[in-house]
């Protein structure tokens, strides 16, 4: 079980690296789908089975389809290398590494491995989440439905052809 987490984590990190390194947008999109699916497996390992399938159905199966279809329709080819300064390259990479190490150290200090043990396994099935969603969080639920409606209308209006 724990080995599976480390395998999925490695796959996710390598795929995320591939997202930011690839020149062709389609390959970046495919790598992002790999990241999403490995995160879904991590959610399963955390006992969040409903979140795992929702991640695959909604994020990897609908949002990323939108991305892939837009990339194909707009025929986004390979990206040309930037004409910006080379100095930014040489200074940027170490700064990113420093940022990463700094945040990792903060996280490591805050949650030392010895003192954090998980609470007893909670039932994270659809029934439990449905109970919470439709009782305690019914207002955000309804508000997000209005949000999605507005987003649909906005997307249709913005992407329409002007005649």
């Amino acid at each position: 079980m724990t080995a599976l987490f480390y395998i999925c984590a490695t796959v996710a990190v390598l795929a995320a690296l591939n997202v930011i390194v690839q020149r062709t947008p389609v390959y970046s999109a495919l790598s992002l789908i790999v990241v999403l699916c490995s995160l879904a497996v991590v959610y399963l390992l955390l006992g969040a089975e409903f979140m795992a399938v929702i991640q695959v159905i909604v994020y990897a199966g609908a949002i990323m389809v939108l991305f892939v279809l837009v990339i194909m329709l707009l025929n986004a080819g390979r990206e040309v290398p930037s004409h910006r300064s080379r100095l930014a390259h040489w200074v940027g990479a170490p700064l990113v590494a420093a940022f990463l190490i700094e945040v990792l150290i903060v996280v490591w200090r805050q949650f030392p491995a010895a003192t954090t043990s998980p609470a007893p396994a909670l039932d994270a099935g659809p029934t439990a989440i449905g109970h919470l969603l439709f009782r305690n969080y019914v207002l955000p639920f309804e508000v997000t439905s209005i949000l999605i409606l507005v987003a649909v209308l906005g997307a249709v209006v913005l992407a329409k052809k002007e005649f």
Partner: protein, 353 residues
């Protein structure tokens, strides 16, 4: 897992079940193709394959050999990675959803209960929908990678069609979920046991199709559209878009698309029997092993009925035009499915009050 030997046994059992199911599924796909060619031929007043073997029964084997030995033509301008990825992705996803489908009841083997199912997830139905959602990519990528007009159009149209009908597929099943109260496929079938009695006589089995007829029609229509079959097979119709998204594929990769389409048909038919027609439930008699095998037999009979209906539609119906298809999916099926959910929930609330 309490001990590692239990874990090892579990893994071994799962691998054995997967191997058996895969072999059976691959053989049945080959012979579904044979059945389709024979039935469509008879509908069209001709014979169908009859040369190779008695009644053409060895035709699938001949076709498989042909696909293996045919020259693999790869056009120059294709995107290599995605061109090779798409057929394997389709093939893998098509065979992935079989993992949660229960083929029959449980039987006891030396005291251990073994179910005719590779694994019983308690979000089993959502797993099948997740695999279906990922299946959209394979077609879009296949169409795009060929770097040619007709495959691109076929791929884009097909993926738009699939995501439109995915919505009604999910919504049509919500009525069944409200009745069953669980997302586990085994649980949904077990909720359909027994009969309705009038005057002490069992009249109808408690199948969900009698409780949710509209839901069944919505589900089956959306499922036919999802699997890109007639009457929704515009993206791969020969008279419309050359070969659609699989124009630039030949021999083995084309065979993978082909097999994946039939595997999807089988999955969808299995789901239709599980959700609406009582799965493996049927007249059971005899000692325990006979009952277990009989449950598998009833399941296969019902699935075969659905497959026959698919093939019958192929031989009979004309295809939808693309705008008619999209209008039907969005403007008719989705509101109908929402209405079905509304009515079902009111009836359930009223009956439990």
């Amino acid at each position: 897992m309490a001990t590692s030997s239990e874990a090892g046994l579990f893994l071994l059992l799962a691998l054995a079940k997967s191997a058996v199911v895969l072999v059976i599924l691959l053989t049945s796909i080959a012979y579904i193709v044979w059945v389709e060619r024979k039935v469509v031929a008879r509908i069209q007043s001709r014979w169908g394959p009859y040369l190779v073997g008695p009644h053409g029964l060895l035709q699938p084997i001949a076709d498989a050999l042909k696909f293996l030995f045919k020259e693999d033509i790869v056009p120059l301008e294709v995107d290599r990675v995605v061109y090779w990825l798409a057929p394997f992705l389709t093939f893998t996803l098509a065979f992935l959803s079989i993992a949660v489908i229960p083929f029959g009841g449980t039987f006891a083997f030396r005291g251990h209960p073994i179910a005719f199912q590779i694994t019983d997830l308690n979000v089993g139905l959502l797993f099948v929908f997740a695999v279906t959602s990922l299946g959209v990519y394979s077609i879009a990528l296949a169409g795009w990678s060929a770097n040619s007009k007709y495959p691109l159009f076929g791929g884009l149209r097909s993926s738009a069609q699939m995501i439109s009908y995915e919505l009604s597929l999910g919504l049509g099943v919500v009525g069944v979920l409200m009745i069953a109260g669980t997302l586990s496929l085994r649980g949904i079938v077990e909720g359909q046991q027994g009969f309705w009695h009038i005057g002490g006589l069992p009249i109808l089995p408690r199948w969900n199709v009698f409780l949710q007829p509209v839901g069944f029609l919505i589900y089956f229509t959306a499922a036919v559209a999802e699997t890109n079959r007639v009457p929704f097979d515009l993206p791969e119709g020969e008279t419309e878009l050359v070969g659609g998204f699989h124009t630039e594929y030949s021999s083995f990769k084309f065979a993978m698309f082909f097999m994946a389409e039939y595997a999807n048909m089988v999955t969808v038919s299995c789901l239709a029997t599980l959700l609406f027609f009582g799965g493996w439930l049927g007249p059971a008699f005899g000692p325990a092993p006979v009952r277990a095998l009989l449950s598998v037999f009833w399941f296969c009979l019902k699935v075969f009925g659905f497959l026959f209906f698919y093939i019958w539609m192929r031989g009979t119906l004309p295809r939808f035009r693309y705008d008619q298809l999209m209008a039907f999916g969005w403007k008719f099926l989705v509101p109908l499915a929402l209405l079905n959910i509304l009515v079902t929930s009111f009836v359930i609330a009223w009956l439990s009050a």
